[in-house]
């Protein structure tokens, strides 16, 4: 089998054209036959060529007549609904390709922005110049991720099957929200907001661990620590600090 790329244009050379015709016609008939057998469906093909006054057909003149009759018996609308010629067939394929391209680009963009998000997470800050567009997409992606994370947390805490931990999920979100509010407000400690947030992070980790280990308490426990600002001197040992 030749695997040279053939230019899709009328073959000027007569003998080459005839040879191609014979091969491809044979291949075409084989494909129709396979389609019919594999899918158990009715089909027919008619080929008119300058090489033969009689058209070449599949499966047989009788078979073709049968299929054509079945076709003609259908309402006009049904006949023409899926009818194509070269032009319309190509247009269909073009639409499909455009659609696939759009989807793939969207997918890739999401992957890129995700990569960006992880870069920022690792670095702990927003790096270099970022366009407003990317920023927007990033914000959207972050919200999506948060949704997924929350959903997963819920699932996991439910699956623990213990009644006390079932309280944990709503407690987590409530308390974390409270912490967030506090963090937002305490922007003027002498080391800057980053430090406060960092303390919070540390506290939250330990607090959360305690929560899970102790099996939670009532849902109305006050937060384990009060004013965030007063904890600058009291570092809780944190396994992630080196």
């Amino acid at each position: 089998m030749t695997r040279k790329k053939v230019k899709l244009a009328f073959i000027a050379n007569d003998s080459a054209r005839k040879a191609t015709f014979k091969k491809r016609k044979k291949g075409l008939m084989k494909k129709v036959s396979e389609l019919s057998t594999l899918c158990g469906i009715d089909a027919c093909a008619i080929v008119y060529s300058p090489y033969d006054p009689q058209p070449e057909v599949w499966p047989s003149p009788m078979g073709v007549q049968r299929v054509l009759s079945k076709f003609r018996r259908m309402p006009e609308l049904e006949q023409s609904k899926k009818m194509v010629n070269q032009e319309s067939f190509l247009r269909q394929r073009i639409l499909k390709a455009k659609d696939q391209l759009k989807k793939q680009r969207k997918d890739n963009r999401e992957k890129e922005i995700t990569q960006l998000m992880f870069q920022y997470l690792s670095a702990g800050k927003i790096m270099h110049n970022i366009s407003m567009v990317d920023l927007n997409d990033l914000a959207w992606l972050i919200d999506q991720n948060l949704k997924d994370i929350n959903r997963r947390i819920e699932v996991l805490t439910k699956n623990n099957g213990q009644s006390q931990t079932q309280v944990a999920a709503p407690v987590v979100t409530n308390v974390v929200a409270k912490i967030e509010d506090k963090a937002q407000g305490s922007s003027n400690t002498h080391l800057g907001q980053g430090f406060d947030i960092n303390i919070d992070l540390m506290h939250k980790q330990n607090w959360f661990m305690n929560l899970m280990n102790n099996g939670g308490g009532g849902g109305n426990e006050t937060m384990p620590f009060g004013d965030v600002n007063n904890h600058q001197n009291g570092f809780w040992p944190n396994p992630f600090f080196h």
Binding site: K31, L35, F118, L138, M209
Partner: protein
Amino acid sequence: MSMSKSKKSSLGRQKIPIEKIPKKSHLQVTFSKRRSGLFKKASELCTLCGVEIAIVVFSPADKAFSFGHPEVESLIDRYTARNHPPESSSSGAHHLVEAHRNANVRDLNMQLTQLLSQLEMEKKRGEDLEQERKTRQRQLWWESPVDELGLHELAQLKLSIEDLKNNIHKHATKFMLDSSSSSSSSSPLLGGPNTSLGPLPRYDASSLHPNPHYHLAFPTPYL
């Protein structure tokens, strides 16, 4: 052939026996793909060899699909009438119509080829990005899918992400405030359509995170 860990998007070309496909869903997919391929082959044959072809197939759901060059209708009528007038298309007008049609087909074909190659490129890009992420996942646990993370990790991740979210809002606000002075465009990080409000001359991200330990919340391989 790429490394052993790469995920193939499809099984590729597999040899199957030519008999009716037992599974209905498989059958439907096969019909769809092969019908399209059949029409494509027929179309190519018409262009390459200047012949006329009509194909009629019925789907498993008994819908009629037909392809015809130049037109299904006229070919069917011609065949049914058992009248095969050789080259009745010798009139000048007919030639003109045909030439015009062929030119259209040529253009459409070019357009399609271009789209398909763009699609290939984007697919490859997607695979590369996926591969990069998988590689990073081995060292950075937080890049793993959420479903694979434990509760403790999730809590941690959540806090860090929420913090990033805060930073983004601040960053965006800063952007808006700076917008009055900006005229040039910054280089967008990822080459998206650039509608940015300008570079960040005065915004120093590190001023929000003076604590160098911030990023140590995650154990990184660089420590």
